[in-house]
């Protein structure tokens, strides 16, 4: 049965694993359930397989073992309804379209009616007002990423996949976005998955943080973040916040240490 397009999607992985055709093992069997409407951060060393996991969940990369269900159906079902959006690690804006054109392209691809007002609101939300008509080539790296985030959000997806969305964004804007973006996806109960290298960002944005070891990625820690919302920048100095950040950092270090001593895992 196809999932109802208005109900957010729960993501269930069972023994999900990925080894590429060339023999590169990227993901060790992973079993995890991401409840609908929640925000989950994926943290792990560079090259461990986070983007690959996200691409599998988006239905762009077939898993090599295990099962993956979104809202009770295989990822393709959600894909076919254009119920998910992904902001890719490289912003992937089409150079011949303006910022507005790129955002509108998502609506077109998802076969949704044009929504000029919503597009304007999003452009303002990501701080690109005044650049709606600009070509990507004339924008900075951080501005391009923000345009890509707006593009991912414009279709009001049930599942939002963000791959290092703030990688090239400056610290101040990054904090602003971390405050503003959840306000748009929380009321809609969008299930959000976020890959990030910033521990602060992970704690700030998510309800839950999954920490991975170096490749092949194994889940080393599953940390619940029960800080009250809405979260403001001031929260970053709160002892509870700092404690969680410390916990994530320790888990990352543990994962790296474990990978450097492969005999210890056996």
């Amino acid at each position: 049965m196809a999932p109802d397009p208005h109900i957010p999607a729960e993501v269930v992985c069972e023994d999900l694993a990925k080894t590429f055709a060339d023999g590169t093992e990227v993901l060790r069997p992973l079993s995890v359930t991401l409840p609908s409407g929640g925000t989950t951060a994926l943290v792990g060393p560079s090259g461990c397989g986070k983007s690959t996991l996200l691409r599998m969940i988006a239905g762009l990369e077939p898993p090599s073992a295990g099962s993956l269900r979104i809202g009770g159906a295989p990822p393709r079902a959600l894909l076919k309804q254009a119920g998910l959006s992904m902001a890719f690690q490289d912003p992937s804006l089409l150079p011949w379209r303006s910022v507005r054109g790129n955002i509108e392209l998502a609506l077109k691809l998802a076969r949704r009616p044009a929504a000029p007002q919503a597009v304007d609101d999003l452009i303002r939300l990501v701080g690109l007002d005044g650049f709606a008509g600009a070509r990507p080539a004339t924008l900075s790296g951080g501005m391009r990423q923000r345009a890509a985030i707006a593009r991912a959000m414009v279709t009001e997806p049930r599942l939002l996949l963000l791959d290092e969305p703030f990688g090239a964004v400056d610290e101040l804007t990054r904090r602003q976005l971390a405050e503003d973006l959840p306000r748009t996806w929380e009321p809609r109960q969008t299930t959000t998955l976020l890959v990030t290298h910033s521990i602060t960002e992970a704690v700030m944005l998510s309800d839950r943080i999954l920490v991975f070891s170096p490749r092949p990625a194994t889940l080393v820690a599953d940390i619940a973040v029960d800080l009250p919302r809405p979260r403001r920048a001031a929260l970053t100095t709160d002892p509870a916040f700092l404690g969680l950040a410390e916990q994530v950092a320790a888990a990352l270090a543990e994962g790296v240490a474990g990978a450097n001593r492969p005999w210890a895992a056996q």
Partner: protein
């Protein structure tokens, strides 16, 4: 990158224009001076004489140009439509790409000088052969960049389309078509003058009207001003067509393509794959050839089948004589075409490098070279014959010039295409021109050089056969002309087969060297 940078500096842009104008003016003055000095030698007409002749014969010239342009436009449309169609098939069924590419190359290597008379007997009088030759002259230079352009988008753009549940159709509309546009225009721009060339070669081979017909008449009558006027007018029309398509391309697409003409895709990097592929292309070519002749029920006397050519070359009683005749002609042609080809490559490369070290000279010489590059040199072959005589020198020089211009322009553009960031790196070490040339620009230029070297192979063959046929009376071109006038269709078809297969083989050999060199110096260009 450089284009964008200069566009933002209007002052520099106007300066370039003035320098270009100065270069053209110098060229004209030199020509006028030489023309006056040599008047009476029956080799060179000064620009003033050319203008006078054109003015007096404006009506005749206008009608001929209308005829030639009409055929060129039709050929341009048919040829490019075929290129788009073939590229689409290769895109939809990637397995067919190698087959389509191989077959297209073989057809591209058909020697127009022999194909013209054959098409003439097959299609009868009228415009058919001119249009067909124009189409044959253009489709390959569009097909090759288009095949690259349709795949040129980064994979994440396709992920974007697929992440909304859309398939190949949406990919084509939203990503591939737009990403291929600059490549398409790069091809169309080269095709525009090539269509005029094809139409004129078609007219050389026995039409009733057109610039090519007037050219042949003027040359036979030793009418120097007319020959020069006709060559100048066709060159000017070709330059205009080239510039016009370029302008349109810049209006419609945002950036020039990174690689103009990528190396040929040989699916099987291992020898076995290439062999199977070559066999497949050969079988398909023979089937299509045979099928076309049978389907139209064409007379065996002039519409030879593969079996007839096999018989003429192998089993017939006089096969040994035929082979010997071909071998002699081939040797004569090789003696002209090889030195000309190599000299053209060396001069193009050498001048491009020299101009990097002398930027002031480059500003004057480049626009002239870009303009002349778009001239279908073959249509000016009669001039070379007048200037340099009917001997070896004229032929070798014509081939060299034919190869020189595209090579020079490609190398010069390649040399200036060094990535901006890398340039910044060299700036940060205050590196000099020479070290920048050796470490940065030469490697960045290699892909362009080899693309030019490869595409010049059939061009050189065309040039040499045209001169041999028009003037020297030696070599393959002359053999083709003689066989055509003697209705020796066995020999004519044999020359077509031998020359196409040999040029395709040379083209692939250059492509092989190219891939090896690029694998070392520019690995990103080889990645597909």
């Amino acid at each position: 990158m450089t284009a964008a940078a200069t566009a933002h500096r209007p002052g520099r842009h106007t300066a370039r224009r003035w320098q270009a104008a100065a270069g053209l003016l110098l060229l004209l003055l030199g020509w006028e001076y030489a023309g006056r000095a040599l008047s009476g030698a029956f080799i060179l007409a000064a620009p003033s004489e050319v203008l006078a002749w054109t003015w007096q014969n404006a009506g005749l010239m206008g009608r001929a140009m209308g005829e030639t342009l009409g055929n060129a436009v039709l050929g341009f449309v048919y040829g490019n439509a075929a290129a788009v169609l073939l590229a689409s098939v290769a895109l939809l069924w990637p397995r067919t790409e190698a087959l389509i590419g191989g077959l297209a190359l073989l057809v591209f290597c058909l020697p127009l000088v022999a194909t013209g008379p054959i098409l003439r007997v097959l299609m009868g009088p009228g415009d058919g052969p001119q249009i067909a030759l124009a189409a044959l002259a253009v489709y390959y230079t569009t097909l090759v960049p288009l095949l690259v352009g349709l795949r040129a988008a980064p994979s994440s753009w396709f992920d974007l389309v697929r992440s909304y549940g859309r398939g190949r159709g949406a990919e084509l509309v939203h990503v591939r078509a737009m990403a291929a546009l600059p490549y398409l225009f790069a091809g169309l721009q080269i095709a525009a003058p090539a269509a005029i060339l094809g139409a004129m070669v078609g007219e050389f081979t026995g039409a009733e009207r057109g610039l090519g017909v007037l050219t042949i008449r003027a040359m036979r009558a030793l009418d120097v001003p007319a020959t020069w006027a006709l060559a100048s007018v066709s060159a000017a029309v070709a330059i205009l067509a080239y510039a016009g398509v370029g302008w349109l391309g810049r209006r419609l697409s945002t950036a020039p393509p990174p690689v103009l003409l990528a190396p040929p895709a040989v699916a099987g990097r291992r020898g076995g794959g290439a062999l199977v592929q070559g066999l497949g292309v050969a079988v398909l070519a023979l089937l299509l050839w045979w099928g076309a002749m049978e389907a139209f029920g064409l007379n065996r006397f002039f519409a030879k089948r593969p079996g007839d050519v096999w018989a003429a070359l192998v089993t017939a009683p006089d096969a040994a004589v035929t082979r010997a005749t071909l071998a002699v002609a081939l040797r004569e042609t090789a003696a002209y075409v090889l030195p000309g080809y190599l000299a053209g490559l060396a001069m193009g490369l050498g001048l491009a490098v020299a101009l990097v070290l002398l930027p002031a000279l480059a500003a004057v010489a480049m626009p002239v070279a870009v303009a002349l590059r778009s001239v279908p040199i073959v249509t000016t072959a009669p001039l070379f014959v007048m200037l340099l005589g009917r001997g070896a020198v004229g032929t070798v020089v014509l081939v060299a010039v034919m190869v020189f211009f595209p090579t020079f322009v490609a190398c010069a553009q390649g040399l200036s295409r060094a990535p901006g960031q890398a340039n910044d790196l060299f700036d940060s070490y205050a590196a000099g021109r020479l070290s920048r040339l050796i470490h940065l620009r030469l490697p960045a230029m290699l892909p362009a050089f080899f693309a030019a070297a490869r595409m010049s192979v059939p061009a050189a063959v065309l040039a040499v056969t045209v001169v041999e046929w028009l003037a020297t009376g030696r070599g393959m071109g002359s053999l083709m002309a003689m066989s055509a006038s003697l209705s020796d269709y066995d020999m004519l078809w044999s020359t077509v087969v031998v020359v196409s297969v040999l040029s395709a083989a040379c083209y692939l050999a250059v492509g092989g060297v190219e891939r090896r060199v690029l694998a070392v110096y520019a690995p990103e260009q080889g990645a597909r």
